[in-house]
């Protein structure tokens, strides 16, 4: 029996500093520890500052999901200040959020995920040559088109926010901008370019309308075989190569899913409160435990710090009750970390006590909830895929890509609903209070909790999607979703553990977000070797 320990620092292409330690038996991962390796302390910076500071600071917690942080920060203040939001403001915030997520779809697929499919591990597979031709970094034919096209959706963001990344155009009471006709018409035109340059000809090989007819895995397979254009599209190649390369055989995870949902309906959230939020989402919220759907009530969130490098907190507190974190001074590098003790700057968030995966897969599972209302996404596809195939690297990536056509349609629909003669902003009255704002960043459930007291921020807590996904063990030593998803993974070449990277990247881990939180130790000394 070969018992080995593999230290991977850095993992790379995950946005930020992720280190992973895996324990293997005969080439199969039996246990894994994820380490968020960087700390900045944004929550500590926010304490005692101007209440609107979150609008400037939190987008800069993460340059990839800055618009999503802004979406949360503005709604958290709307709740605390009891603002009234005009429909135009809700539309323009949803457009910004959807534009940022749409940008991330091709950028993440080509620049971060698909280059691994061109790894030599798959060199003996029949589709390998074609995958290399299209997906190899920089020189792949689709890499170039996809990465270039990913800049289009954020041009739409810039029309309303001035720039992407790092605008602060969403403010309590509405939005800063008051767009004119040409902003709306240009936005439609830019979206059409995105569709014509990449979404239809390169990714789908068919019209968006044809793709939207797919309701089940059988429909998907039927679509694939329908014609050469479908088979040879990048989606067609991903489906064929993904299954041929066995991406459906690893990276399962914890099997529980959480989505806060997003895109608050223009007429259903004009007086934002914590209680009225979930019903107003267009992309629905929820918690799915593998069998049943539950309401995603923020009251059920808690954070564990037993394995996090923070000193002043108890396990299992709700964000409103958590103190501003104080960083430990004994953090270590991966090799010297003690995984029985503290080992990550990420906290371990739990929902109803469970580790839960967040991200596109969680969102499309919520979209398949039969109880969804008329104004919400109703899409049975991933309910069916989860029953037939279950979660894996393959399923997670497909879920991510599945969102692009729907968001394209929604963006155009929302642009069409903006009323140029109506208000975009209603000046609020500043006051003390508590607020909660949440959304779906491209990579999953993001939320901000704020307490304003004596006209300054008393407490600010952020739980990022990657905190849920990449967090360490909880107080009972249950693994986080990525730690769990790595278990059972076969590592063919320990000198190039691409499989570990693929699992982490399928979650689109974004450590730059996570490191605001904190988190080390192993029992027995195992055999060690270097890559």
């Amino acid at each position: 029996m070969a018992l080995k320990e593999l230290n991977i620092s850095p993992v790379g292409r995950v946005e930020g500093d992720l280190d992973v330690k895996v324990y293997m038996e005969n080439g199969v991962v039996t246990r894994a520890h994820t380490q968020a390796a960087m700390f900045r302390g944004f929550e500590k910076i926010l304490a005692g500052k101007d209440p609107q500071s979150g609008l400037i600071v939190t987008p800069r917690a993460c340059g990839i999901c800055g618009g999503s942080h802004l979406y949360c920060a503005s709604f958290a203040l709307d709740v605390a200040w009891k603002t009234t939001l005009p429909p135009n403001a809700l539309l323009l915030r949803a457009i910004g959020q959807a534009a940022e997520t749409t940008q991330s779809i091709p950028r993440w697929f080509y620049a971060i995920f698909a280059t691994d499919m061109a790894n030599k591990k798959f060199a003996n597979k029949p589709l390998y040559q074609e995958v290399v031709k299209r997906f190899a970094a920089y020189v792949g034919t689709s890499f170039q088109r996809g990465v270039t096209a990913s800049g289009r959706p954020v041009e739409v963001y810039a029309l309303f926010g001035g720039q992407w990344p790092h605008s602060s155009y969403m403010v309590p009471g509405g939005v800063m901008c008051a767009p004119t006709l040409k902003d709306i018409t240009r936005a439609h035109a830019i979206l059409n370019q995105f569709r014509n340059d990449w979404l239809e000809p390169v990714w789908l090989g068919c019209s968006i309308d044809r793709y939207m007819q797919i309701q089940s895995w059988d429909d998907m397979m039927e679509w694939l075989e329908e014609n050469e254009s479908h088979r040879n599209s990048d989606l067609g190649l991903y489906l064929r190569a993904g299954l041929e390369f066995g991406l459906d055989k690893f990276g399962q995870g914890v099997g529980k899913y959480l989505a806060w949902g997003t895109y608050l309906h223009k007429d259903m959230y004009n007086n934002p409160t914590i209680e009225s939020r979930n019903a107003a989402t267009i992309s629905p919220s929820g918690f799915f435990d593998g069998e049943k759907y539950y309401e995603a009530d923020q009251k059920h969130v808690s954070e564990h710090v037993k394995h996090s490098w923070y000193t002043n907190q108890e396990d299992g507190l709700h964000p409103f009750e958590e103190p501003i974190p104080t960083a430990a001074t004994d953090s270590r590098n991966l090799e010297q970390s003690d995984f029985g003790g503290k080992y990550s700057w990420a906290k371990a968030p739990r929902f109803m006590g469970h580790a839960a995966e967040t991200g596109p897969l969680a969102r499309v599972i919520m979209a398949a909830n039969p109880a969804n209302k008329e104004h919400q996404f109703r899409d049975p596809l991933f309910g069916d895929i989860m029953r037939k195939m279950g979660p894996s690297v393959f399923t997670r990536v497909l879920a991510r890509m599945h969102e692009a056509p729907r968001l394209f349609l929604k963006l155009n629909e929302w642009l069409g609903q903006v009323r140029l003669d109506d208000e975009f902003y209603i000046k609020p009255t500043e006051q003390d209070g508590i607020g909660w704002g949440a959304t779906e960043a491209a990579r999953g459930a993001l939320a901000h909790w704020i307490k304003v007291k004596n006209g300054v921020i008393e407490n600010y807590q952020i739980i990022a999607p990657t905190t849920f996904n990449v967090g360490p063990n909880d107080k009972d030593n249950n693994p986080g979703p990525i730690e769990s998803a790595l278990e059972g993974t076969e590592i063919e070449d320990p000198h190039d553990p691409v499989e570990v990277g693929m699992v982490a990247r399928s979650f689109d881990s974004c450590l730059v977000c996570t490191v605001h939180a904190h988190d080390n130790k192993t029992g027995k000394e195992l055999t060690k070797f270097k890559l």
Binding site: M38, R40, A111, T115
Partner: protein, 319 residues
């Protein structure tokens, strides 16, 4: 042909995201047409684990020529100067930065965090963050006041939160095409070609500024300097000459300039009353006035402007 190594310290990856939005040239063109060879980058690099540390060691030993070392994010020195709050490839990132900066021909700091500390360095600065060669306005930072790279220049600062993709790509192209001699830098080490004019240069609300007509959120027209804290008249950057995402800029969408290319950002350290509000004396005199004006002279001129009835013909701009 130039070998580029790009690393991130206390970063949000915003400058990388901005860089990936580049258009003339795109990132792919930068590599394919201009011979920029990205040795490694955290978002797009293919190597992992010891492949990365070996590559960095080769740069330090000189086995691989390191032409440009790009750093994004703050240099994290916490806790207590140890740098243990930011491990990278088994070592504190700051130790890598020190060795790589001395091995490189040119060192480029990208974004406010790398240039002067940015948001992570706002008090209480929990991670003991600093910039490469400045800490806020003070020269020194992590590498020290006297640092010059092998190529004979101090750290080239490309500030902004984030930096505009053109500011990044054009400097990389300038170095790789042998035009480094044309890159003149100002007192904060910013390339003058991008940071001589003000954000106000090219702002469509400049007439409202002259006529002292206030703008506000959700309204078309008017100047944001007087009420919502716009820093366009005192911020050196080309945001209204080289537009963002080929479309716009903050002030063009009624978003006050936050002054993010100046070493004070975020200005006033986010204290109460400083966010999206013009800080004033006596409730009506702006505390900060356009660069180059004395306060008294500016207040006098603005007062006359405010009370002068004739040219004040602001109509709300048409939808």
């Amino acid at each position: 042909m130039a070998n580029v190594l790009w690393l991130q310290g206390g970063a949000c990856s915003g400058n990388t995201m901005s860089f990936l939005d580049a258009e003339e040239p795109t990132v792919v063109e930068l590599i394919v047409d201009f011979g920029i060879n990205i040795l490694w980058h955290p978002t797009v690099g293919l190597e992992i684990g010891h492949q990365v540390s070996d590559l960095m060691q080769d740069c330090i030993s000189g086995k691989t020529q390191l032409d440009i070392f790009v750093f994004e994010g703050t240099v994290i020195q916490g806790p207590n100067g140890s740098g243990k709050m930011n491990y990278f490839a088994d070592r504190p990132m700051k130790d890598w930065v020190q060795e790589l900066a001395h091995a490189a021909q040119y060192v480029v700091a990208i974004g406010d965090c790398a240039t002067w500390g940015g948001i992570p360095a706002v008090p209480p600065n929990p991670s003991e963050s600093t910039g490469m060669q400045f800490h806020k306005r003070k020269k020194g930072g992590f590498l020290g006041e006297g640092f010059v790279s092998k190529g004979g220049l101090p750290v080239i600062n490309i500030p902004g939160c984030p930096a505009h993709p053109d500011w990044i790509t054009q400097i990389l192209v300038a170095i790789s095409t042998g035009r480094i001699g044309d890159v003149l830098i100002d007192q904060y080490h910013r390339p003058k070609t991008f940071f001589t004019d003000f954000v106000q240069t090219g702002c469509p609300n400049v007439r409202s500024f002259t006529e002292k007509l206030d703008g506000h959120f959700g309204k078309r027209g008017g100047c944001l300097f007087y009420e919502v804290g716009c820093r366009g008249p005192m911020t050196h950057a080309s945001c209204n000459r080289i537009l963002w995402n080929r479309q716009s800029s903050k002030t063009r969408v009624n978003h006050p300039c936050l002054g993010c290319t100046e070493p004070g950002f975020p200005h006033h350290d986010l204290k109460k009353g400083s966010v999206f509000k013009t800080m004033k004396y006596l409730g009506f005199l702006p505390r900060e006035v356009p660069e180059g004006e004395s306060k008294l002279m500016y207040w006098f001129k603005a007062g006359v402007g405010k009370m002068s009835p004739t040219p004040r013909v602001l109509k709300e701009h048409s939808k």
